[in-house]
Amino acid sequence: MNCISNTNPLLKVRSLSKYYGSYIGCRDISIDLWPGEILAIVGESGSGKSTLLNCISGLMKPSTGRVCYRNHNGEVDLVACDEAERRQIRRSELGIVYQNPRDGLRMEVSAGGNIGEPLMANGSRHYGQIRETALAWLEKVEMDTARIDDIPTQFSGGMQQRLQIARNLVTNPKLVFMDEPTSGLDVSVQARLLDILRRLSGELGLALVIVTHDLAVARLLAHRMIVMRQGEMVECGLTDQVLDDPGHPYTQLLVSSVLQT
């Protein structure tokens, strides 16, 4: 099921800015995200897209602005709330998939352990059930379940990335942030990963915010996209609209520069 919900936004970003001294990381970004929606943040190197993602996901404190996340308790400003609450929400309701899987995995812990650990952190204690869940998730990300006891260094980059996705999704988050999840991977590996993401997002009604420099990834996965340049959001809208009818000169340059979108 991939219904775009008609309820209130899941995430509301308002006037988010991050400065490094006088250098603009990102400036005055406002955007809403609905449940089940996939948003791509697109831009070239130095555009501020990773800075924006880090601020929205709570990894970095912005200079100004609010990031209002809605859950069953109501609305929480992830910027202003205390660290304990932010961590608790990140652990149980959000996911973060890093560009380098080594940043998002415990390299000395088995694949099964990596998937099971977030469950245990949320209070699960039944070892048998945790292992069953880990096996099911290895299947969902199309990995060989016989390798549940292998450690991440024994896997390829693409497999590590799939393991990272499983580790993030096992707690059934509503919203997952991804920074260049397919960069550095061979194209066939990229394709498989994107297909898995597309399928899982649809099945789970998962909202995703994906940073990418690759317009084709945005076209394939995202309902909406924003284009970043030098810290500013120069264009935003439906993905097909931004790519088929780019309004801003920089967006036109990007679209005309790629081989095929």
Partner: protein
């Protein structure tokens, strides 16, 4: 109250990376469409027929004007709607069959056809049954159903496009050259599908180059003319952004 109302619609394309060329396509385009009507847009190539359809679907951005659509007991201006609203319109109100099938590789044809029903919450079995029925009707051989349409012929791809477009009922259907790549027999099958939708009360806005098809399907024809190019103004260049010249 019309179901779809284009009001003083203006659309130009500004090609900043190609010498700042500005191509005006629509200037104060007005059209009212009542519920259940079947309209055909005609006119020479470049007149803006596909542009009108894409603006209604939210695929192109409006420069000025409004596109009012009656939906969900209210009225929405597509030109001013936020992306979330447009996505909801595309899910429930406006169906679109374009000239080209933009294919996601590696997805089987039958799943591409099923997807609009799945997105409305239909179960897999019901969606599959509906897809099979349409694929059979459009003479797509069963051996092709589990394959990705990337290697299909143009005609086969277009029939997948049609099946995907018609599997879920929409109050409004936008058809851009639905029979373009089809042989006469398949074109007749598609014509029949469109007739049935029209008879069921679907409002249809279509572009049909084939005059026979247009006459058979459309109760009203609207003709667009090519907008003449503007005289270039002196110093009509882009100043706020310096882009590398390649």
């Amino acid at each position: 109250m019309p179901l779809v109302h284009f009001q003083n619609l203006c659309k130009s394309f500004n090609l900043y990376t190609q010498g700042n060329v500005r191509i005006p396509v629509l200037q104060d385009f007005n059209l009212s469409i009542s519920r259940g009507e079947s309209i055909a847009l005609t006119g020479p190539s470049g007149a803006g027929k596909s542009t009108v359809l894409r603006l209604l679907y939210g695929n192109y951005r409006v420069d000025r004007g409004r596109i009012l659509v009656q939906a969900n007991g209210g009225q929405t201006d597509v030109a001013a709607a936020d992306p979330h609203t447009v996505l909801a319109l595309r899910r429930d109100t406006i169906g679109y069959v374009s000239q080209f099938l933009r294919v996601i590789p590696r997805i089987p044809a039958i799943e591409i056809v099923m997807e609009p029903l799945i997105m409305r919450g239909a179960g897999e079995t019901r969606a599959r049954t509906a897809a099979v029925s349409l694929l059979e009707r459009l003479s797509i051989p069963q051996r092709l159903w589990p394959l990705s349409p990337t290697t299909f012929s143009g005609g086969e791809q277009q029939r997948i496009n049609i099946a995907r477009g018609f599997i879920a009922p929409f109050p409004i259907m936008i058809l851009d050259e639905p029979t373009a790549s089809l042989d006469p027999e398949n074109a007749r099958a598609v014509e029949q599908i469109i007739r049935e939708a029209s008879a069921a009360g679907v409002t249809i806005i279509g572009i049909y180059h084939n005059p026979g098809l247009r006459a058979a399907l459309a109760s009203r024809t609207v003709t667009l003319a090519v907008t003449p190019p503007e005289r270039p103004a002196p110093g009509n260049g882009l100043s706020e952004l310096s882009l590398p010249v390649t």
